[in-house]
């Protein structure tokens, strides 16, 4: 079984790129299964169903979507195996850009939108810096020079990553990404994350609604950067 984890900023075009890539994988004779993780709501499973591939949705609700995605990887892989598939495409819904839900033996794909500007690669964090491939979308909206500057910025934060220029509308780049998936790593029994999740947890994580400072416990960071543990 191969595992592909597709992460990226909201609206970057993860689903569209993955749809085109799924079609290409089918043409190559592979058997993809799709798990779509979202926070509250999604209809994207219907889009994937139209391609005739097995698809399930996971809604993280009260849990961090990246943590949810990581916690459920075993179950996802078991499900994909039960569907007699040979590659699991896991589309995540990470929002805070602090986690990177990539295990070591997967193909880690970060989808990033070129219209967010050349400073965006510096803001995305481990999602991009620990990815194997950066898929750059919406390149048709900017000049070639701007695409090349964006690419340079990605290489500054992740010099080894493979950059794929893609377009969710036309399907550009899907053949290249499908080829990377086909040659991607097999999953192993004892997978480890590439990057540590943030120091957790504080009282806000467990439902505290009051704003005033005195009500908060846990590992807390002040505006000036000072970090401390408050509690028993």
């Amino acid at each position: 079984m191969r595992l592909v984890v597709v992460a990226g900023t909201p609206g970057a075009g993860k689903t569209s790129v993955l749809m085109h890539t799924t079609r290409r994988l089918l043409q190559l004779g592979m058997k993809p299964a799709v798990v779509k993780i979202d926070c509250l709501w999604t209809e994207d499973d219907r889009r994937f169903e139209r391609l005739g591939v097995p698809v399930i949705v996971g809604l993280s609700k009260d849990m961090c979507p990246d943590h949810f995605s990581i916690y459920n990887i075993d179950d996802m892989l078991a499900w994909a195996a039960s569907q007699e598939c040979d590659v699991l495409l896991n589309e995540t819904a990470g929002l805070c850009l602090r986690c990177a839900p990539y295990p070591d033996s997967c193909l880690a794909v970060c989808v990033i939108d070129v219209t967010t500007g050349p400073n965006a690669p510096l803001k995305v964090g481990p999602l991009l810096t620990t990815a194997d491939a950066a898929v750059v979308t919406k390149g048709d909206m900017v000049s070639q020079a701007e695409r090349e500057v964006f690419r340079e910025r990605i290489l500054e934060v992740n010099p080894k990553c493979r950059i794929v220029e893609a377009n969710g509308l036309s399907g550009k780049g899907s053949a290249e990404l499908a080829e990377l998936i086909r040659k991607g790593p097999e999953t192993t029994a004892e997978m480890r994350l590439r990057h540590n999740p943030p120091l957790a947890i504080c009282t806000l994580c467990t439902g505290e609604l009051r704003v005033a400072k005195e009500h908060h416990r846990g590992v807390l960071r002040h505006l000036d950067g000072f970090m401390e543990y408050m509690g028993e």
Binding site: M141, V142, E152, E165, E176
Partner: protein, 252 residues
Amino acid sequence: MNLELTVIGGVDKKGEVEPVERLDMKRGEIIGIVGPTGSGKSSLIGDIEQFAQGDTPSGRYILINGRTPGAETRSDPRKKLIAQLSQNMHFLADMTVDEFLKMHAKSRGKPASVAKDVVELANTLTGEPIHPDHHLTILSGGQSRALMTADIAVISDSPIVLIDEIENAGIKKREALDLLAGEGKIVVVVTHDPMLALMPSRRVVMRNGGMYRIIDTSKEERTVCEDLTRVDDWLMSLRETIRQGNVVEAAP
């Protein structure tokens, strides 16, 4: 270096085989792409820019010297064979002109000192001068286009140049084309402008997403092109006179 660019035809928007099965272009050639809006002109140069390998809606294949280009020439700007002036009229990057050009020079393996050459050249194409400290996002459409054109001429000096509707920018189109179409390059020009369409020795006619026909520019068309050049010169001088706030006189 010998260089030949080949487009192997695919299908049109209806999925039918496009009438032109193969298009070969050699160094030193300028080829026009004409056709109504929506006929697939930009998609054709899009296919060339990304070295399509049957993975775009057209199903076309692009070959360099008769072979499939390597992945590196597809993506690494230092090895890129293609410079493209697209229809985009604005920059989205929140950087100054100077920062942006220096970073682009770096991505193409050129020294940072070329940034000032680009600005100087751009200012020969546009009315209102561009300053290196300007933010890209405040430039006008014409200034942005002039900067993109100069950037291609100086920084993205590639042997294949793709130009999409240079006449739309409000910049000096013939000067801009001369800058981009250096000696010994393959130049593909998408255009609605009669003069630019008749300047190349051949033009591809697009219809419904497919390459429909190739027309060799006839002797008569060349004469028309010369006439058009004179008309264009006159139009340009009128435009300049009016722009400068002066009053025009009757044709000589």
